[in-house]
């Protein structure tokens, strides 16, 4: 929430409320504003504290690291910790990329197809199928763990990345379906009908008309799916039996969970491990922009 939205109920600096503007301002308004900002600042600092510790510790010289000096700034910048943990994380990072990229892309594409059919190419029973798909969102990981591993070993997909990708695609579908269904519901039915009259069937309407306007929904779906596949630990730990397929979360756990691991190394690995999700967010965030539908309708 930005400060601006909170601020717009108060009077801009240096202005007295205009007469006839409809609202009566309390003379306490300026104090309330100050209080609001103070509160916001407090929470900002509070929430950023761990991040501060993470960044600062990872940049310290190993000799400088200690519980009592956690809040101190590093006296000299040192990237030694990164260099130390990099070899241990490298394989995990590659595995996680190989896992999260196809999982998020395929899950989003299938979600887009689901969402399109459920909102714009309605079929009998759509109102029954949608809640059923949605229900998948509320099934906790733990409850499906055993049947899932059984199924995957029966299918011969246990142990490698392919099985893990499949699980993440399926687990992502309810949410991506919801995202795309809501997004397509906001698009005029007449555009789909125009394509129909123009001779396009379901698939061609989907690919030529619906998908080109869907990048904002893809941005949301991919960011979410990438993050959840990347951050997953449980499925990875259960389904990858060979250390060659461990995703970065497990590699990270092994560094942090080892005996007497130096703080600086744990922090550096955590920082490395969380960078890709940040990167995805920064890269895709600009597709959040609206306006892809501009000009389609009367306007």
């Amino acid at each position: 929430m930005s400060a601006a939205t909170l601020d717009d109920t108060t009077v801009p600096k240096g202005q007295t409320p205009r007469k006839g503007h409809g609202r009566i301002r309390s003379r306490w308004a300026p104090y309330v504003t100050v209080l609001k900002y103070a509160l916001l600042l407090f929470f900002l600092v509070f929430f950023l504290m761990p991040v501060y510790a993470l960044v600062v510790t990872s940049l310290k010289d190993p000799a400088e690291v200690g519980v009592d000096t956690v809040w101190n700034l590093p006296s000299t910048l040192s990237f030694d910790s990164f260099a130390t943990v990099w070899p241990k994380l490298q394989d995990g990072l590659v595995n996680s990329l190989m896992l999260a990229i196809p999982a998020s892309l395929i899950s989003s594409l299938l979600g887009a197809a689901n969402g399109f059919v459920l909102s714009k190419w309605r079929f009998p029973g759509a109102d029954f199928v949608f809640p059923l798909i949605l229900f998948g969102m509320f099934i906790p990981y733990q409850s499906v763990l055993i049947p899932m591993t059984e199924t995957m070993s029966f299918l011969g997909l246990k142990g490698g990345l392919d099985g893990l990708i499949l699980v993440h695609i399926i687990y992502g579908l309810p949410l991506t379906t919801l995202i795309f269904r809501s997004y397509f519901a906001g698009i005029s039915d007449e555009i789909v009908e125009a394509a129909e009259v123009d001779g396009a069937g379901m698939l061609r309407t989907f690919f030529h008309v619906a998908l080109p306007v869907a990048p904002p929904a893809f941005a949301v779906a991919i960011i979410w799916q990438f993050t959840s596949a990347w951050n997953d630990f449980l499925f990875g730990a259960v389904l990858t039996t060979n250390r060659a397929y461990w995703p970065v979360t497990i590699a990270l756990n092994n560094i942090a969970g080892g005996q007497a691991v130096p703080f600086n190394e744990a922090m550096a690995s955590a920082l490395i491990a969380c960078l890709p999700t940040l990167l995805v967010y920064i890269l895709l965030g600009r597709f959040f922009m609206r306006g892809l539908m501009a000009g389609a309708l009367k306007g």
């Binding site: 007449e190 129909e196 009259v197 123009d198 001779g199 069937g201 080109p212 306007v213 892809l292 000009g295």
Partner: protein, 387 residues
Amino acid sequence: MNVDITNAEAAGITLDGVDKVYRGGVKAVSGVDLTIDPGEFMVLVGPSGCGKSTLLRMIAGLEEVTAGRVHIGDTDVTNKLPQQRDVAMVFQSYALYPRMSVRRNMEFGLRMRGTKAAERKARAAEVAETLGLAHLLERRPAALSGGQRQRVAMGRAIVRRPKVFLMDEPLSNLDAKLRVSMRAELSRLHQRLGVTTVYVTHDQIEAMTLGQRVAVLRDGVLQQCDTPANLFHKPVNLFVAAFIGSPGMNFVSARVEGGRVGFGGLSIPVPEGRTLADGEVILGVRPTGITLPGEGRPALTAVPEVIEDLGDERHVVFPVAAPRVDTDATRAAVDAESADDVLLPDDHARFTVKLPIDVPVTLGEPLELAINPARLHFFDPATGAAL
């Protein structure tokens, strides 16, 4: 440039007892029989909710037909998909594909039907030329004005050379001036292309100016389908009479007795060639059916209550000492124009008359007028049917 964008094979449309019942039992269209000739410009008109758009969408295949048959040309298309009907539609919202350029919007229908790229390009260029869009071909819809978007929507339909054009209130989002000029353009285009066109509007003026024939619908039932002149002069019932014409027809409760019809102290001989049984009737007369005093015309004294000066003519509203007609039919017709819902101080009928601008009229000053007996309409008060 005079290229061939005309359609070789215009097809007629036949609706045969067409019903549409929505889930939940709402009957949107019931028992419509309508034959649209090849190359005809047919307008479907009626107040909102009368089923005209539903009927159009059933011709397009976007709405399932509950009962009855739809034929385009000789083909029964009742159960065919829109893609299989060879119709082109212009939507009220234009429904352009937002991520495609004007060219690609126009070529889309051809592309979906497997037309070769070179021909697509040539045809889009031809149509763009005709519609004055040639310089806009590479633009996206977002970069166009409302009128230009409307033309693109039209061009997208024309370029396909379909058997039938379907238009769902295509001009309603344009401003009043542009609407009038687009109306004329549409008429010219239809003359040139000769494609069967079904055009939906709620605006009776648009209907009358565009349609070769106009089908008036009310509550899903076809009331009358005829030429604009016949709708105007020979309405089959009270609803059509009240719906067509602006300002609307004047109505008053009257009584027929011995070959004369009387209301508000006036007694007019029933026009020659008409025989009316004695009893209550609803009498209707158009604003142009009341004139300045003339030979042999029954005189009428009007005390103007409202004067509307239109520059070249004047609309004068005056009360008549007889009960107002307020039936479902007249109300339904007037609602469509969303006007005239004036609070009146009494239950007397109000007549509107169109007078030349050079006739001096003063509010409250009695004015001598006359009724043209040839222009009287009579309706059954119970059924609303014309007598």
